[in-house]
C-alpha cells in the first residue's frame, strides 16, 4: 500500500481510563487516527475532552492512577513498527522513543523549563541521551538549534537561565529541545495558549517551517479554530473522549457534519463581520465525566436530539477520509452548508 509509508503513527480504538476513589473516568474512550509524515493533524475540542490525555498516552506520560485500557498505538519507525502501548512506561525502550523519535512541547513554557538549569543544559540533555556526540559537539549543536529557532546571540543565550528568557523565547527554546534529535513526530499541546497573539503567529510559522524542512509529522492540540484553519492538514474534533468528526481540513471546515462541529464553528466570532454578527454559544456544559449520557455524549446539548441518540452511534465513513459519529449524519451531510 502506497499511503502506509507516509504514516508515522497510527492510533486504533485507544482507551485511556483514570481511576480515582474507585471511580473510573473514561478520559479517552475509543479514539482512532493516523498522523502522516510532513503533515499537521489538529485535535480540537473543549477543555476536558481528552485532547491532552491522548497526547500523554502516546508519550506514556500518564499519571500513576491511569492506564491504557484497550487499543493500540503503533509507531512506524524506520526500523519497523513499535507498539507503544506494550512498552513499559518508563522503561528503556519507551525512553529511547521519547525525545528522540517522538518529542513533545507543552502549553506553558514558563513552567515547563527547569528554573535552576541553563537553557543550553536542558537542550543538551536530550542530545546527551539520544546521540553519541561529545560535549563540545553537543554545545555547538545546541547553539545551531537556538539560531535555527530565531534566537539572537545564541552563543551568549545558551548559558542563560529560563527566567532570563521572554515567554516566546522560552517556547522557542522548548521547540529547540523537542527538535534537537530530529523526531519523526512532534506533539504540541496548546503550545501558544500562554503566549500573546503576535508571538503565537511566529511560533506557528516556526513549527510550519520545521515541518517542511524535516518532514516531521505534527500533532497539534488546540481549541483555536483560527489556528486550525491556518495550519492543519487534517482535523479531528474530540468530545468527551471520542473523535466525533475527523477528516481533511477542507472536509471538516467546509462541510462540517457533526452537530458538535457545527455548533463549535457557529460559536466563533469572525473578524471583520462587525458587532452585529450572531454568535451561537453551545447550550449547556460538558457533562460530568462520572455521570455520562447513555448514548451519544453530545445528545443532551444537541438541538437535533431524538430517541435514537440514547444509543451510542458507531463511526461512519462518509468519504474516504471524512468520518463521523452521529446517527443523523445523512441529514446533515445533505443539508450541510
Amino acid at each position: 500500500m502506497e499511503t502506509d509509508h507516509n504514516i508515522a503513527l497510527s492510533v486504533k480504538n485507544l482507551k485511556t481510563y483514570f481511576y480515582t476513589n474507585n471511580r473510573c473516568n473514561r478520559a479517552v474512550n475509543g479514539v482512532s487516527f493516523d498522523i502522516e509524515k510532513g503533515k499537521t493533524l489538529c485535535i480540537v475540542g473543549e477543555s476536558g475532552c481528552g485532547k491532552s490525555v491522548t497526547a500523554s498516552t502516546i508519550m506514556q506520560l500518564l499519571p500513576r492512577l491511569s492506564r491504557i485500557e484497550e487499543g493500540s498505538i503503533t509507531y512506524h519507525s524506520d526500523a519497523g513498527d513499535i507498539d507503544i502501548e506494550n512498552l513499559e512506561r518508563n522503561g528503556q525502550k519507551m525512553r529511547a522513543i521519547r525525545g528522540s523519535e517522538i518529542a513533545m512541547i507543552f502549553q506553558d513554557p514558563m513552567t515547563a523549563l527547569n528554573p535552576v538549569y541553563t537553557i543550553g543544559f536542558q537542550i543538551g540533555e536530550s542530545l546527551k541521551y539520544h546521540t553519541d556526540l561529545t560535549r563540545k559537539q553537543i554545545r555547538d549543536k545546541t547553539i545551531d538549534l537556538l539560531r535555527d529557532m530565531g534566537i539572537s546571540l545564541p552563543e551568549q543565550r545558551i548559558d542563560e537561565y529560563p527566567h532570563q528568557y521572554s515567554g516566546g523565547m522560552r517556547q522557542r527554546a522548548m521547540i529547540a529541545m523537542a527538535m534537537s534529535c530530529n523526531p519523526k513526530i512532534l506533539i504540541a499541546d496548546e503550545p501558544t495558549t500562554a503566549l500573546d497573539v503576535t508571538i503565537q503567529a511566529q511560533i506557528f510559522e516556526l513549527m510550519d517551517r520545521l515541518k517542511e524542512k524535516h518532514n516531521t509529522a505534527i500533532m497539534l492540540i488546540t481549541h483555536d479554530m483560527g489556528v486550525v484553519a491556518e495550519l492543519a492538514d487534517d482535523v479531528a474534533v474530540m468530545y468527551m473522549g471520542n473523535i466525533v468528526e475527523a477528516g481533511t481540513i477542507d472536509e471538516v471546515l467546509r462541510t462540517p457534519t457533526h452537530p458538535y462541529t457545527r455548533a463549535l464553528l457557529d460559536s466563533i466570532p469572525v473578524l471583520g463581520e462587525g458587532k452585529n454578527q450572531i454568535i451561537e454559544p453551545i447550550p449547556g456544559s460538558t457533562p460530568d465525566p462520572y455521570q455520562r449520557p447513555k448514548g451519544c455524549q453530545f445528545a443532551p446539548r444537541c438541538t437535533h436530539y431524538s430517541e435514537q441518540c440514547d444509543i451510542m452511534p458507531a463511526e461512519t465513513q462518509i468519504s474516504e477520509t471524512h468520518r463521523i459519529m452521529c446517527w443523523k449524519y445523512q441529514e446533515f451531510a445533505t443539508n450541510g452548508k
Partner: protein
C-alpha cells in the same frame, strides 16, 4: 556578590551593638547582682551594709547602668573581654577552652541532620504512600514533637546505662591519647541534638520534593526520555533543595539553643554549660559575651544561608 557580603557584614555591627545593649539592660532588670550570688546569704547577713557596699564598689556595681555599659563596651572594643566575676578567669580563656567543644557538637549534629534529613525525606517522597513513607512520617512526627531533654535521658538510660555501648558523658578524658578517642563520647549528644532537626528537615524535604516532582518541568524532563534517577535527582532534588537550605538556616538558632540543654544532660564541657552557670551567678561579662557570640553565630549563619541560596538557585540575585 562580594559587595553584598561586605555590606551584610557591615550591617552586623549596628545590630550587635543594639542587641548587646538590650541584653545588658535585660540583665539589669533581673533581681540581685553578682555580689548577692558570690557571697552566701549567711555570710552576707553577717556583713555590714557598708562592707557590702564596698564590695559592690570594688566590682564597679554601684555605677549607673549606662556608665557600666559604656565601660564594658569600650573595653570590648579594645579587645578586652574582661574577667568572669565568679572565678576571675579571663573570658577569652573561657571561650578558647569551651568553644571548640560546642562547635564540634553543633557541627556534627548539623551535618548529621542535614544529610540524614534530606536523604530520608527524599526517599519518603519517592516512595510516597508506601510502608516506608508511613513509617518515616510517624518517626518524623515523634521527632518533631518530643523535646530533646526527654530523648537525651532515654538515650542515656538505654545506650549508656543498660547496654553500656557508649560513655555516659564528658568529652576529653585524661586517659585519651588521640583526638579520635573521644568519638564515642560525641555520638549520643550529637545524635540527640540532631534528632529534632533531622525530623524537621525530613518532613520539609519530603514536601519540598513532592512539590518539585509535581511541577511541569518534571514531565518535560520525562518527555526527553531521561532515566528516572536523573529526573528525580537532577531535576527534582535540585529544585527541592533551595527551601530545605533556607529551613536549615532558620533552624540554626534552635540548634545553638539546643546545645545548652544537651550539654547539661551529657556533661559536655561547652559554652552552653557555662552559659547556665553564668546566668545563675549574674556573671555579667560572661553572659554578655556568650549572648553576643550566639547572636553573632545566628547572624553569620543567615548570611551564609543567603549566599548558599544564591549559589544554588540562579533566580536569586543578591543585591
Amino acid at each position: 556578590m562580594l559587595t553584598y557580603v561586605i555590606r551584610r557584614i557591615l550591617i552586623l555591627i549596628p545590630m550587635l551593638l543594639i542587641i548587646s545593649f538590650l541584653v545588658y539592660w535585660g540583665l539589669e532588670l533581673t533581681p540581685g547582682d553578682a555580689v548577692s550570688h558570690l557571697i552566701n546569704p549567711e555570710a552576707a547577713g553577717r556583713m555590714s551594709a557598708e562592707q557590702l557596699n564596698d564590695l559592690r564598689e570594688s566590682y564597679g556595681l554601684n555605677k549607673s547602668f549606662i556608665e557600666r555599659y559604656g565601660i564594658w563596651l569600650i573595653n570590648v572594643l579594645q579587645g578586652n573581654f574582661g574577667h568572669s566575676l565568679a572565678g576571675g578567669v579571663p573570658i577569652a580563656d573561657i571561650f578558647l577552652d569551651r568553644l571548640p567543644a560546642t562547635l564540634e557538637l553543633s557541627f556534627v549534629a548539623l551535618f548529621f541532620s542535614t544529610v540524614m534529613g534530606s536523604i530520608l525525606g527524599t526517599i519518603s517522597a519517592l516512595k510516597r504512600g508506601s510502608a516506608v513513607d508511613s513509617g518515616l512520617t510517624v518517626v518524623g512526627m515523634l521527632g518533631v514533637s518530643i523535646p530533646e531533654l526527654f530523648f537525651g535521658l532515654v538515650a542515656l538510660l538505654i545506650f549508656a546505662l543498660e547496654l553500656g555501648w557508649l560513655p555516659v558523658g564528658g568529652r576529653l578524658l585524661p586517659s585519651y591519647t588521640s583526638y579520635w578517642d573521644h568519638v564515642p563520647n560525641i555520638v549520643l549528644p550529637a545524635l540527640v541534638l540532631s534528632l529534632m532537626m533531622t525530623a524537621g528537615v525530613m518532613r520539609y524535604s519530603r514536601s519540598s520534593m513532592l512539590d518539585a516532582l509535581s511541577r511541569e518541568f518534571i514531565t518535560t524532563a520525562r518527555s526527553k526520555g531521561l532515566p528516572e534517577w536523573r529526573i528525580n535527582l537532577l531535576h527534582g532534588f535540585r529544585v527541592a533543595l533551595t527551601p530545605v537550605v533556607v529551613l536549615i538556616g532558620f533552624r540554626l538558632p534552635v540548634l545553638i539553643g539546643g546545645t545548652v540543654i544537651i550539654e547539661q544532660v551529657f556533661q559536655w564541657p561547652g559554652i552552653g554549660n557555662e552559659f547556665i552557670s553564668s546566668v545563675r551567678g549574674a556573671d555579667y561579662p560572661l553572659v554578655m559575651m556568650i549572648a553576643l557570640f550566639s547572636v553573632f553565630a545566628v547572624l553569620l549563619a543567615s548570611l551564609i544561608i543567603d549566599v548558599l541560596t544564591a549559589l544554588i538557585d540562579p533566580r536569586v540575585r543578591l543585591s
